[in-house]
């Protein structure tokens, strides 16, 4: 469904990605691992259409997305992808429910309807109590759950997660991870998670190892 074909990307003089190819099937949960500086985040950003590769193609459902004009690409990210950032990156001035409703509002849905959907998602992720609290009042785990709800609320085809447990202690991190993956599995949403933690990678159906911007020979892809 989502495919990278010989994708390369350079930042300054460092080659972040060199001819990386891979394919992700519908509803599949994939972990991208490797030592820091291996190009994990760059690969995720290329797949998510946040960064354009210098060469190679990124294809979603048979359609090349790396050549789309910025407006189309932005709309595609909004409608087909969800992103969970390492530190949540929620808007601190909004309440938890408003943060979750935000992507729906940007899809021009009615405010009342968007807030109702947001409430459902918060309930699904067990953080209904936090709905009317500002982000600053939430614990790290609650924040990450709200971030997961925000990424899933539009019903995306793929959710990208950058070190989804990065800022959490171990058991809290596991709970968030399971919440993300269980919901994604139930909705047949594909998940691409970037992580340096093998125990997080073990939650995936499949692992893609990156080393120095490439999938090393003999490694699974």
């Amino acid at each position: 469904m989502l495919e990278a074909r010989n994708v390369s990307k350079t930042y300054g003089r460092t080659k972040a990605l060199a001819e990386v190819s891979l394919e992700i099937a519908e509803g599949e949960i994939v972990a991208v691992t490797g030592p820091s500086g291996a190009g994990k985040s760059t690969l995720m950003h290329c797949l998510a259409g946040v960064v354009r590769p210098e060469s190679g193609e990124v294809v979603l459902d048979g359609r090349r997305i790396d050549t789309l004009v910025e407006a189309e690409l932005t709309a595609l990210r909004r409608e087909s992808f969800g992103i969970v950032f390492q530190f949540g990156e929620l808007v601190p001035e909004l309440t938890a429910a408003e943060n979750v409703a935000l992507p729906l509002l940007f899809n021009r849905r009615d405010r009342r309807e968007a807030m109702a959907t947001a409430a459902e998602w918060l309930a699904r992720l067990n953080v209904s109590d936090c709905a009317d609290q500002r982000i600053g009042e939430l614990s790290g785990g609650q924040r990450q759950r709200v971030a997961v709800a925000r990424a899933l609320v539009t019903g995306p085809r793929v959710v990208f997660a950058d070190e989804p447990t990065g800022s959490l202690d171990s058991t809290g991190g596991e709970q968030v991870l399971r919440a993300l993956l269980d919901t994604a599995r139930a909705d047949r949403t594909a998940v691409v998670m970037v992580t340096h933690d093998n125990r997080v990678a073990a939650y995936a159906d499949r692992e893609i190892v990156l080393r120095d911007g490439a999938v090393p020979a003999g490694a699974p892809r």
């Binding site: 030592p35 093998n198 490694a219």
Partner: protein, 168 residues
């Protein structure tokens, strides 16, 4: 003699017969190798010989008649001593994984990649087991996962060091 100590620990709650002890051992130590039935009786006899346990009667529940064992005061003292003994922190590196790499040197590269795969596959299984939410199983899976993770991280370091040596 740690199997004996585990059995003593299980006997503290109440007197039990051999089959009961085997079942509880396998349940509580979910990730460990299951205890062979024969070893249960051999261990119990040794405990009896050392004065840590004694036969306190027989019980029949539908099946054959079973001998019930209970813990003695000496057994309690011994259990207490064992529980409070600090485990010596791995004085020697003993792992087939380590030995193989130490012998193969830089040639272990391909092997390590395959070993990584195997480790991760096992970690995936263990992670799936954790979904059961049975506390003993989760505890055992966590233990195994963290040890496998340590292996994996060592493999990563080993690969990186080999690359450095290649460049040097």
């Amino acid at each position: 003699m740690s199997t004996g100590h585990v059995l003593l620990g299980l006997l503290v709650e109440r007197p039990k017969h051999g089959y009961e002890l085997k079942k509880e051992h396998d349940h509580r130590l979910a990730g460990a190798k299951p205890l062979p039935y024969g070893q249960v009786y051999a261990t119990l006899q040794r405990l009896e010989r050392d004065g840590f346990a004694e036969v306190s009667g027989t019980r029949q529940e539908g099946g054959p008649e079973r001998t019930v064992y209970s813990i003695t005061d000496g057994g309690r003292t011994e259990l207490e001593r064992w529980l409070n003994t600090v485990e010596p922190p791995a004085p020697y590196v003993t792992s087939p994984l380590f030995s193989r790499v130490a012998v193969a040197g830089t040639a272990a590269d391909g092997f390590l990649m395959r070993q990584r795969e195997a480790h991760l596959a096992r970690m995936r299984e263990l992670t799936a087991q954790k979904a059961s939410d049975v506390p003993a199983q989760v505890l055992a899976a966590d233990y195994a996962l963290q040890h496998l993770d340590a292996d994996l991280r060592w493999i990563e370091t080993a690969l990186a060091r080999m690359k450095e040596d290649d460049l040097a």
